[in-house]
């Protein structure tokens, strides 16, 4: 037991921090652009830097590291609110494909040359026709208009689609826009009766999302601290007022708790710990709630400027909400946790 980053892991985090800090200057331009992400940044971070394959086995073209390193990268991406298909394509599609053995496209996803997104459905969306699987579904999926592959995720079934319609929708979350997806066709590949593999892969995805939320929450706190040290009212920096200090202290209590939850879940994933599903549920709801709180407080503590379009605070706030529904809600993770720890009635 040694629950601290190794020097190698610290280096991964530091490298990612520098890269996403460089990207951050382009945030507004990317958000204002039509596509929602910057292709050059994507190729750089995912391909050249190798962050797309960091948790992918070497046999599939990855770096052969694991969930901890991916979480460290996601934390830094979250800190810059990096607008990109990181979570759907790298964080979710890759573990789903690896977990279900549909690994053909993994190398292309890992090096960023292809992008995947996911659509959650019930198993009824899948029907057998002429020996193959036909999928019929509609819904919202992040970056679907930029995606090469669409993963259709049911409770026990998973399909890979290459033919689907995607219409970009004006989205609350400006840094991870949704598109309206319509699917009605034959799947390129399908697995059936894969409930446990899908559940485990989604838990891994939720941990990566949680890491990204943690990074955003920590950034929201850091930027709020910086602002309140500078902004003077009533003859002193507003960060010297106890009510504001205590609010920021509470933000930090929340981010440190979320950091513990996220790192623990990532380590549990890496070690295939039997408590991983629990840890993933805890990390997921804790990190999302922490981001929502910190983003809301960021607006509040910035005062008037905090609710202007020009200030980034609302981008954090919007991201928090987008994250809260992307891979299931915090409430759903709490309900799942309740089941895992035996909090059912009269079960004693």
């Amino acid at each position: 037991m040694q629950f601290v980053e190794t020097p190698e892991q610290a280096l991964v985090a530091e490298t990612a921090r520098g890269l996403f800090a460089d990207f951050a200057s382009g945030l507004r331009a990317t958000v204002a652009g039509g596509q929602g992400y910057d292709r050059a940044q994507w190729a750089n971070a995912i391909g050249e830097m190798g962050f797309g394959g960091i948790a992918v086995p070497e046999a599939l073209g990855g770096a052969g590291l694991g969930p901890i390193e991916l979480a460290l990268v996601a934390i830094e991406a979250g800190g810059g609110l990096w607008p990109s298909p990181l979570i759907p394509s790298i964080g979710t599609a890759i573990p789903l494909l690896i977990g279900t053995g549909l690994t053909d496209d993994v190398p292309a996803l890992a090096d960023g040359t292809k992008i995947a997104t996911i659509l959650f459905v019930t198993d009824e969306a899948f029907t057998r026709r002429n020996g193959g699987w036909h999928v019929t579904a509609r819904g919202l999926a992040p970056f679907a208009d930029s995606a090469d592959l669409l993963l259709i995720v049911g409770g026990t079934r998973l399909a890979v689609m290459t033919a689907f319609e995607a219409r970009p929708a004006p989205s609350l979350d400006l840094t991870r826009p949704l598109a309206a997806v319509t699917v009605d066709g034959v799947a390129v590949a399908v697995v059936d009766e894969a409930g446990p593999a899908i559940a485990d892969a989604l838990d891994r995805a939720r941990v990566t999302l949680a890491a990204e939320c943690l990074g955003a929450a920590e950034a929201a706190l850091a930027r709020t601290v910086d602002y309140t040290k500078q902004r003077v009212q009533f003859g002193r920096p507003i960060g010297s007022f106890q009510a504001l200090k205590h609010r920021m202290a509470d933000m930090m209590i929340a981010t440190e708790a979320a950091r513990s939850a996220v790192l623990y879940a990532a380590a549990a994933a890496a070690e295939m710990d039997e408590g991983f599903a629990e840890a993933a549920a805890i990390a997921h709801f804790t990190a999302i709630e922490t981001l929502r709180r910190c983003a809301g407080d960021m607006i509040q503590l910035h005062g008037g400027i905090g609710f202007t379009w020009e200030h980034d605070a609302h981008l954090f706030f919007r991201r928090a909400q987008g994250a809260a529904t992307l891979l299931g809600t915090p409430a759903a993770s709490r309900a799942r946790l309740a089941g895992l720890i035996g909090l059912e009635a009269k079960a004693a």
Partner: protein
């Protein structure tokens, strides 16, 4: 202590309902249930003039200034029926609710004669010029200055969060008229024509994409020497009096708007089944209780002879309630509420509530400033040491 209305008051209500229904089914139908504060400016001016023509524009003002001297009960009835009918937000709000009562209390007879009729008749519209970029919560740090040159004040500086300025004719400005003065001393309350070369407006886009507020730049702007209210150097007292009038009958109308928001959320919850979620149902129940309590508090305040301590708690209470409502709206809507609708709205009403309600705990005095006020003025707790 009595909640109910007399027969006479119920007759008044019927008159109000009838008038509103007639107008809003007829030529003003397009203004009904309008959310935007900026759409249809011409129709809204016409609406204000029609209200005035039939004696409904300033019912709480004294008869001498064009009002009806309406009783508390009548004002409550009017405010609630106005909102219930879906009548539009008052473009004259700042003049009718804020400046008018301030002028009635502080202004000279000449000033009253010059400015009150324009407000009452819906001919002149007002904007508010208080906050500055470096004086948000801390009004004592105002830097906008006005200098008397001959028979005119010349004004230089910058105001921010000027609401509705794009539709206004005049602006009231708290400016420093005593060079070198600090804090609340040396300020004057000036009435300034807004449409003049010395004034430039720049809209501020809010996080929900709307632009209700402006930055207002004064660069040698001018107004007559006589347009100072309450005397030169006495602007702080006038401004504080004005801020107190914000807690008037208009809160009841505001609350009716909250009811419409609440109803919209309940409708979504029913439609998408989240009302079956016990946690959501409990939050909706609490939201409803909050509405009822805010109404009762408003009635307590309006019924009292003097502004009671409870009045100081109103702003944080409603603002926090409203912010929570915005979060509830989004949790009810779920992911499908995070994208634009089929119509011309860029986002769903739930998403807009989620975003727009975040401003409630900030504008008009942040929750932090309000809590200071409650602690010091209502509870008598000691001030903090100065920095």
């Amino acid at each position: 202590m009595r909640l109910g209305f007399t027969h006479e008051q119920e007759c008044f209500r019927a008159e109000v309902v009838d008038w509103l229904e007639t107008q809003l089914s007829g030529r003003f139908a397009k203004l009904r249930h309008l959310k935007s504060q900026s759409a249809f400016p011409e129709e809204r001016r016409a609406w204000e003039r029609t209200l005035a023509a039939d004696g409904w524009s300033v019912i709480g003002w004294p008869k001498a200034y064009g009002g009806r001297d309406a009783s508390l009960a009548e004002q409550v009835i009017f405010a609630e029926e106005y909102a219930r009918a879906g009548a539009p937000g008052r473009m004259s709000h700042i003049g009718v609710e804020l400046l008018g009562p301030t002028l009635i209390h502080f202004a000279s007879d000449e000033q009253k004669a010059r400015f009150l009729p324009g407000i009452a008749s819906g001919e002149e519209y007002w904007a508010q010029g208080y906050s500055e970029p470096n004086a948000g919560s801390d009004l004592g740090s105002l830097r906008t200055r006005a200098t008397l040159e001959g028979d005119e004040w010349v004004i230089d500086g910058q105001k921010i969060w000027t609401s509705l300025a794009q539709h206004a004719d005049w602006i009231f400005v708290l400016a420093r008229t005593e060079p070198g003065s600090r804090g609340s001393k040396g300020l004057s309350f000036l009435l300034v024509p807004l449409r003049q070369p010395g004034i430039t407006l720049r809209p501020i886009r809010q996080m929900n994409g709307e632009a209700e507020f402006n930055e207002t730049f004064f660069d040698g702007a001018r107004t007559a020497a006589a347009n100072v209210v309450g005397g030169v150097g006495n602007g702080w007292a006038v401004a504080m009096g004005l801020l107190m009038t914000e807690r008037g009958v208009s809160t009841l109308g505001q609350q009716m708007g909250f009811i419409a928001d609440y109803d919209a959320i309940v409708a979504v919850a029913r439609a998408n089944g989240t009302i079956d979620d016990p946690a959501i149902r409990d939050r909706l129940t609490r939201a409803y209780a909050g509405l009822r309590i805010m109404r009762a508090t408003a009635l307590r305040i309006l019924s009292a002879d003097q502004l009671p301590r409870a009045a100081l708690t109103q702003k944080v209470h409603w603002a926090s309630w409203y912010r929570d409502l915005g979060e509830l709206a989004m949790d009810v809507a779920g992911q499908s509420g995070e994208v634009g609708g089929a119509g011309d709205e860029p986002l769903s009403r739930m998403a807009d509530l989620f975003l727009s309600t975040r401003a409630a705990t900030i504008y008009g005095g942040t929750n932090q400033i309000q809590r200071n006020i409650i602690a010091e003025r209502a509870l008598g707790l000691p001030r903090e040491p100065k920095g």
